[in-house]
Amino acid sequence: MRSVTRPATGVGTVEDDAPRTPAIEVRGLRVSRGGRPVLHDLDLEIVRGTVTGLLGPSGCGKTTLLRAIVGVQRIEAGRVTVLGTPAGNPRLRQRVGYVTQAPSVYTDLSVAENLRYFAAVLGVPRDEPARVLEQVGLHGRERDLVGRLSGGQRARVSLAAALLGTPELLVLDEPTVGLDPVLRRELWQLFHRLAASGATLLVSSHVMDEAERCTRLLLMRDGRLLTHDTPAGLLAATGAPDVEQAFLRLVAGTDGGPDTDRDTDFPRTEQS
């Protein structure tokens, strides 16, 4: 097996594929889970260097789409191309960082032990753990056992592990859930800094007010894309005062009216 190391800095310096190709290209993606269709012939393209928000109510297929992009989802039909390479290709394993919804770190290890292990697996320099801990604001918590951290801190350890080696594409499944507003703002600032240095971020959320923090928006419902636009473009196109209203108008436009059951589990803001 090759032991390539990801560049610690300088995203976008990778020479193999033209940076002009989209970071993610999905064509006719269809996924069923347990006989039930989850994604219906999805098409989308995500430009490099953007922070794209994937928004939609719980259960609309966001996680399945992200898993397909990372290459861990068995798909029924369609094509997913990531950084110019078919999703799930071994060459992508050092270039794509993935954060699952539930923090996927070892609760019985300390913060530093977790990051040192993932750094060794990725083959990145030894000072990477310290750098990513600084980025997620967990500097000084190296020796804490992950199992004793709060939910939000665990989520940040999981995020830190995905930042190791500065991947070109970051796929983040609800990374800000349960975080306090200050931390959420800090993380969004971090996402934009990463995008400014060349990385592409795809961030899912079921909370509508995160939408205004993204450069591009993907609105999703029942396994279908409602729209792909900038926040401003979306508001202009729908004439809605905010993204939540825009979502409701788009739903009304597609199937003749929002069904109230579904929209109740779509919180405008995180209220926990």
């Binding site: 097996m1 861990v72 993935y98 539930a102 996927s104 060794a120 990725l122 083959g123």
Partner: protein
């Protein structure tokens, strides 16, 4: 496969155990306690300890390693860390061999302790070379580890994983010749016991107990046990899927 990633994985598994000293103490202590009990429960019939001491030395590492590995791997599957690792440049073999190295080391320590106690303090004497007892015990531990890794794929909760012990290991224990010689079993039971790896481990231990020198049969039995461990590891690798439904 990549040695750096394999060793990093082994180190990580050992670090996890270091954070859980109670489990380590139980893993190392329980076999010693059970062997000591065997000796003194049958104090008036010393031949029981004489004939069963060596096979017991092989059975304990298997059961202990089976449970620990089944639960540890299940945790890796359910906590999402396995999915994360499989999106990283970690080979399936790196992961499996990492586990094998870490738990193999623990098996060795456990084997040394139980072996030292049995042969040293409790005075078990065998006709064959006594170091072979240690070799078979370690092979048994590896077999238990590999089986635990494999069955963890079929468990979705830790309750289920633990229930695999009575479902998967205890039948082998009854059929392996520990309680009644395999030769005296009904034909179908004998055939069944021939198909189970623990039978060969116990055969090897019995061979060492009764026959002097290094017998070819012991070596063959030992190789069968190791072969089964490798086969179970390979089956375990098949159950690690990068793409899931």
């Amino acid at each position: 496969m990549n040695p750096r990633r394999t060793f990093a994985t082994a180190r990580r598994v050992l670090l996890q155990l270091r954070h859980d000293p109670r489990t380590v103490a139980l893993m190392l202590g329980a076999p010693c306690l059970l062997i000591t009990l065997l000796k003194y429960v049958f104090d008036d019939r010393p031949q029981v300890f004489h004939t069963m001491g060596a096979p017991m030395l092989g059975v304990f590492p298997l059961t202990v390693m089976f449970v620990v590995t089944a639960v540890a791997t299940l945790r890796e599957r359910t906590s999402g860390t396995l999915e994360r690792l499989l999106t990283m440049p970690l080979g399936k073999l790196d992961l499996l061999l990492g586990y094998a190295l870490a738990f193999g080391l623990l098996t060795l320590v456990q084997g040394l302790l139980a072996f030292g106690l049995t042969v040293g303090l409790l005075g078990l004497t065998v006709a064959g070379p006594s170091w072979l007892l240690l070799a078979v015990a370690v092979a048994d531990g590896l077999l238990g580890m590999a089986l635990g890794l494999f069955v963890s794929a079929f468990a979705t909760t830790e309750f289920q994983a633990v229930q695999f012990l009575p479902a998967f290991v205890l039948p082998q224990l009854l059929l392996c010749g520990l309680f009644t010689p395999r030769a005296t079993m009904a034909a179908w039971l004998h055939a069944l016991s021939d198909a189970l790896p623990l039978s060969y481990a116990v055969d090897a231990m019995n061979e060492i107990t009764t026959r002097s020198g290094l017998s070819g049969r012991t070596v063959a039995d030992l190789l069968i046990v190791l072969g089964c461990a490798l086969a179970a590891l390979a089956l375990g690798a098949v159950t690690l899927r990068r793409r899931t439904a």
